[in-house]
């Protein structure tokens, strides 16, 4: 049996292509393997690169920009892009480049954080509900159904704008007034965004739970949380990744509509959503108000999708694209 027919099996680790003649018998941990498979996917690497550049711009952008997003250039209201303002200025004379950078940093944080947190909650609640069943599952489903029928937009709007300066502050009130506004927004968006995914995760986990390898793990004496993290979640990771990538776009959009009504990010602070909302109305007459944030959003979402696809293929050993080249 030790003599494998090399023709029948897709050779996963062709020796010559990787490293300085690394022997095939060198054992790689799961993480190393996933990283290696991910790095083979050029589109995904490009997407990751774009994300990294965006993150760097968001953090260090103010250093390269001549203007701050709060500065008003009283000599240039609504001016076209020129050497002083590479992306032009707004009606109130704020530099568009500085605004885009600021918006990018907000949207990047909100989009990614909301996506990761809400998908994380969905994964944990859905998988645990499916695995343990019984009362835990019923309560989880009640909470999910309850949150689904609650008008989340209204609640977030009320919570974001409520007056919390009264004397009898609750713990939540203190958290909201102490924490930066964007964190509150992230928490609230994530809190109301995981339910549908959790239901899907639960139903997928129910089928994975019945697989023999989960039973095998149970009979080995492996504790339930470890089984869920090691066996169930990786096997539904395709769904989780798709959910997370969609959530990035959804969170940016949700933040936009909240901001439009004045409940999300408040001026003078800005986000890509706010910029898009303002710029879209004048897109044909003053395109420089619209094009920079729009291109940034599109790039951001394309990059997230590319990374998501790459991650999915890297985690799934049956996908050819992850391995063969």
């Amino acid at each position: 049996m030790s003599t494998n027919n090399p023709l029948e099996l897709i050779d996963e680790m062709p020796t010559p292509t990787h490293g300085a003649n690394a022997p095939t018998s060198k054992r790689l941990s799961r993480r190393q393997l996933v990283v290696r498979r991910f790095l083979r996917n050029k589109t995904a690497v490009l997407g990751l690169l774009v994300l990294v550049v965006m993150a760097l711009l968001a953090v260090f952008g103010p250093l390269i920009s001549a203007w701050d997003y709060r500065d008003v250039d009283r000599t240039a209201f609504l001016s076209e892009p020129d050497s002083r303002h590479p992306f032009g200025t707004t009606q109130s004379g704020v530099d568009m480049f500085a605004l885009t950078l600021r918006g990018l940093s907000k949207s990047l944080v909100i989009g990614l954080a909301v996506a990761v947190i809400s998908t994380g909650i969905a994964a944990v609640v859905g998988a645990f509900a499916a695995y343990f069943g019984g009362w835990f599952e019923r309560i989880a489903l009640w909470v999910i159904d309850l949150l689904l029928v609650v008008p989340s937009f209204l609640i977030i709007a009320i919570m974001m704008s409520a007056d919390r300066s009264g004397t009898n502050q609750s713990g939540f009130d203190r958290f909201v007034s102490a924490a930066p506004q964007w964190i509150v927004l992230v928490v609230l968006l994530a809190l109301f965004g995981w339910m549908l995914a959790a239901r899907v995760v639960r139903s997928l986990s129910l089928s994975v739970k019945e697989r023999e390898y989960v039973q095998a793990a149970r009979f080995m004496g492996i504790p339930a949380p470890v089984i869920i993290v090691r066996h169930i979640l990786p096997n539904i990771s395709s769904l989780l990744i798709i959910d997370a990538t969609l959530n990035v776009a959804a969170a940016i959009l949700a933040e936009t509509s909240l901001s439009f009504f004045g409940f999300g990010v408040k001026p003078p602070d800005t986000s890509l959503g706010v910029l898009l909302g303002v710029g879209a109305r004048q897109a044909t007459t003053f395109p420089w108000l619209f094009v920079p944030p729009a291109v940034t959003v599109v790039l951001l979402i394309l990059a997230v999708n590319a990374v998501g696809d790459g991650l999915r293929d890297a985690l799934d050993p049956t996908s050819g694209s992850g391995g063969r080249v």
């Binding site: 099996l9 996963e12 018998s25 799961r30 697989r211």
Partner: protein, 722 residues
């Protein structure tokens, strides 16, 4: 179109005339990895009334052949060669023309009767459709014929059952209905593709009888595609053995079984565990796996697995020729030849002459594992410690109804009071048909939950009472190997992580784990350099070895094996059985071995328990039970198993059970087997009453042999095996 009708209208002229003639058939599927050459040059003639078996392991091209002959192949397939039905070429016909032939001149019985019948129409509707499609007739007449057909294939009360839906039929009855549809238009050729693989042995025996009867009634030629060499021995007149898309040996059934010439055939026959082998006869181990038919290297495709392989085997592929021992006579005809191809016995092997001359047997060609006895097995059984004791085990499931107000409407008696004991170094085989409760018993042992009633004691402890650390420690001593090695290995983990998982769970250090995994991979015969691979990159047999390595990782004392070889090909299965045998001797393991294949149990087990409907009907030493079965169910079960020996198969008397397994939710009163019992029918009225009222206990019938029948002594000895 016109030719189609004329050829279909023309009846075969008489028995023995060639009905179907296939010449130089090639089937190729284009794929990204390269052309998949599924069939590479197949010739045969099929005569009226004859049964030809095509035997081969998965991927050998046998099913593709049948699809190509029927014109049911996928559109992407490229087919060359010639297929003639009554002398008329049918390979170049379009789908519409083929549809006139399918179901009329040629018909097919598929493997899975559940998916082959449309669930939303009644069985009668589907048979009537098959009839009216080819022979326009009034509906009333077609329904009358449908009832007659169902009667012919042995469906009780066909008048009523004709209006049943497929889901109301059991698996065996569905397959009968499929056969009824296949013979509805009196076809000339019936192609049966693994017709009984999905069925239990007693049902398999019934269905094979029906197939034989259908063939007698219609005088059709049958192509039987199967991997089961026992079925072939009982059914076929001639056999074609396929390997990697090519016929490697063709001949009469006796030639193939008694005078095989090609080492692959010899190995295949030698690797089947025999029901009629009294002592442990070692199985031939055919190393390696069947090759992929993409980019086949030159030379004989079997050469990499053939211990005899010589220089020329690696360079030129042998033709299918007749070997007399001294001189090879080429008999394979070209694609245009009208001459009968292989009338006699032919093999595609450069060395067949040597095999014939020297009379080589599988023991001469293949390495056979010598059975070693462990130190434990030398100790008399009574002095060994019991590792698993089950007494009075019951597992009942409530049958609930209603969505809001759920109420209990009945009980499923999945396991209904069984006693078992496994001692150190011993293998207990638990056999029975699907639904008899053997898997439930296993799960009760493994779940560590209190059963409905009775006790389970593992290594002297009651697992249901243990908590925390003690429970985990007991888990270490009790491990399981599952049936389907694909389903039991997490596809997203590498081999290393899979085997290391139990070690990690029990707190082994990193260095120890790595060393142990390497050791385990070597123990089960895997290449330790493959630690980074995913299970999907291994073949079935190798995956099962990974499963075994994982189960052995913590050095357990008792291994529970749930049908560990039933999903594997014959030649691979033998390797795994030999491995299990060897591990047991080397490591002093005890096995609880659950299987439906009684031949495998006979080969591997020391003691056997036969289950029927949640109870044990016969229990004892494996040789005593097999050589002298006393319970009528065991007798029927043993007699239903096909033996890969044509002579034995022809002379054997089969005990055919009537009907199907009763529902475990509504078991018969008294003796559970009484509804199907052939022995009960022979008893006087007064004794029959006892079967209905009084459940029989396990009564001793030998030194280590009990049987649950009131009338164990009615027939002293039934020679069911040979």
């Amino acid at each position: 179109m016109t030719t189609a009708t004329t050829s279909a209208g023309r009846r075969r002229t008489g028995a023995g005339d060639v009905v179907l003639s296939v010449r130089d058939l090639h089937v190729t599927f284009p794929s990204e990895a390269g052309d998949v050459r599924a069939v590479r040059g197949l010739d045969f003639d099929l005569r009226a009334g004859e049964t030809m078996a095509i035997v081969g392991e998965s991927g050998s091209g046998k099913s593709v052949t049948s699809l190509a002959v029927m014109g049911l192949h996928p559109a992407s397939a490229q087919i060359t060669g010639s297929v003639r039905l009554h002398g008329e070429e049918i390979l170049d016909r379009d789908d519409a023309a083929m549809s006139k032939l399918r179901g009329k001149a040629m018909s097919m019985v598929f493997q899975d009767p559940l998916s082959a019948l449309t669930p939303v129409y009644t069985v009668g509707d589907q048979i009537v459709e098959a009839i009216q499609l080819h022979r326009p007739m009034p509906a009333a007449q077609a329904w009358k014929e449908a009832v007659e057909l169902l009667d012919l294939v042995g469906i009780p009360n066909p008048q009523a059952r004709v209006r049943s839906f497929p889901h109301e039929f059991s698996g065996g009855m569905r397959q009968r209905a499929m056969i009824a549809m296949a013979i509805a238009n009196d076809p000339d050729v019936i192609i049966a593709d693994e017709p009984t693989t999905a069925l239990d042995v007693t049902i398999q025996a019934q269905v094979l009888e029906v197939l034989k009867r259908a063939q007698r009634e219609t005088g059709a030629a049958v192509i039987m595609i199967t991997h089961d060499l026992g079925v072939v021995a009982g059914m076929a007149d001639r056999v074609t053995v396929m390997y990697a898309g090519r016929p490697v040996e063709q001949g009469s059934v006796d030639d193939i079984y008694y005078r095989p010439q090609m080492p692959y055939t010899i190995g295949l026959l030698g690797s089947v565990p025999r029901l009629d082998a009294a002592e442990r006869q070692p199985l031939a181990t055919v190393e390696g796996n069947p090759p992929s038919v993409v980019n086949l290297p030159p030379g004989c495709p079997f050469a990499p697995r053939c211990p005899l392989a010589e220089e020329q085997c690696w360079t030129t592929e042998p033709a299918l020729v007749e070997h007399s021992g001294s001189l090879a006579r080429r008999v394979t005809a070209g694609p245009d030849s009208e001459a009968a191809t292989v009338a006699g016995h032919a093999a595609a092997c450069h060395l067949a002459d040597r095999v014939v001359r020297d009379g080589l047997r599988y023991t001469d060609i293949f390495p056979v594992a010598e059975h070693a006895w462990s130190a434990l097995e030398q100790v008399p059984r009574e002095q060994r410690q019991p590792v698993l004791q089950i007494s009075g085990l019951k597992r009942h499931y409530p049958l609930m109804k209603g969505a809001v107000l759920r109420r209990r409407v009945g009980t499923v008696y999945a396991v209904d009071g069984i006693d078992l004991e496994v001692r150190e170094g011993e293998t207990l085989g638990l056999v029975g048909e699907s639904g008899c409760g053997k898997s439930t018993t296993l799960m009760e042992v493994l779940n560590f939950l209190p059963p409905t009633d009775g006790t389970i004691t593992v290594l002297g402890k009651n697992p249901a009472a243990l908590r925390g650390r003690a429970r985990k420690e007991l888990r270490r001593d009790l491990q399981i190997v599952f049936q389907d090695p694909m389903a039991s290995l997490d596809p997203r983990m590498t081999v290393f992580d899979l085997i290391a998982e139990p070690l990690k769970a029990h707190g082994w250090s990193k260095a120890d784990t790595a060393a142990r995994v390497e050791e385990l991979m070597a123990t089960v015969g895997l290449d330790p350099s493959h630690v980074n691979r995913y299970p999907g990159q291994f073949s079935g047999g190798q995956r099962q070895r990974i499963g075994i390595a994982r189960a052995l990782a913590l050095k357990p004392k008792l291994l529970v094996l749930d049908e560990p070889v039933s999903a594997l090909d014959v030649s691979i299965q033998a390797g795994v059985i030999n491995l299990l045998d060897q591990l047991k001797a080397e490591l002093g393991l005890s096995y609880l071995f659950v299987a439906h294949d009684l031949a495998v149990i006979r080969h591997i087990a020391d003691r056997v328990a036969v289950m029927y409907l949640g109870s044990i009907v016969e229990h004892g030493d494996v040789d005593q039970v097999y050589d002298n079965p006393r319970h009528p169910y065991t007798q029927a079960l043993l007699s239903a198993i096909p033996i890969p020996d044509p002579e034995t198969e022809r002379t054997r008397e089969r005990i055919l059970l009537r009907g199907e397994l009763p529902s475990p939710a509504d078991p018969p009163s008294g003796c559970k087997f009484r509804t199907r019992c052939p022995r009960k029918l022979a008893l006087p009225e007064s004794d029959q009453e006892r079967c209905v009222t009084e459940p029989p206990p396990l009564l001793p019938v030998g030194t280590d042999h009990t049987s649950a029948c009131h009338f164990n002594d009615t027939d002293r000895h039934v020679d069911v095996v040979a």
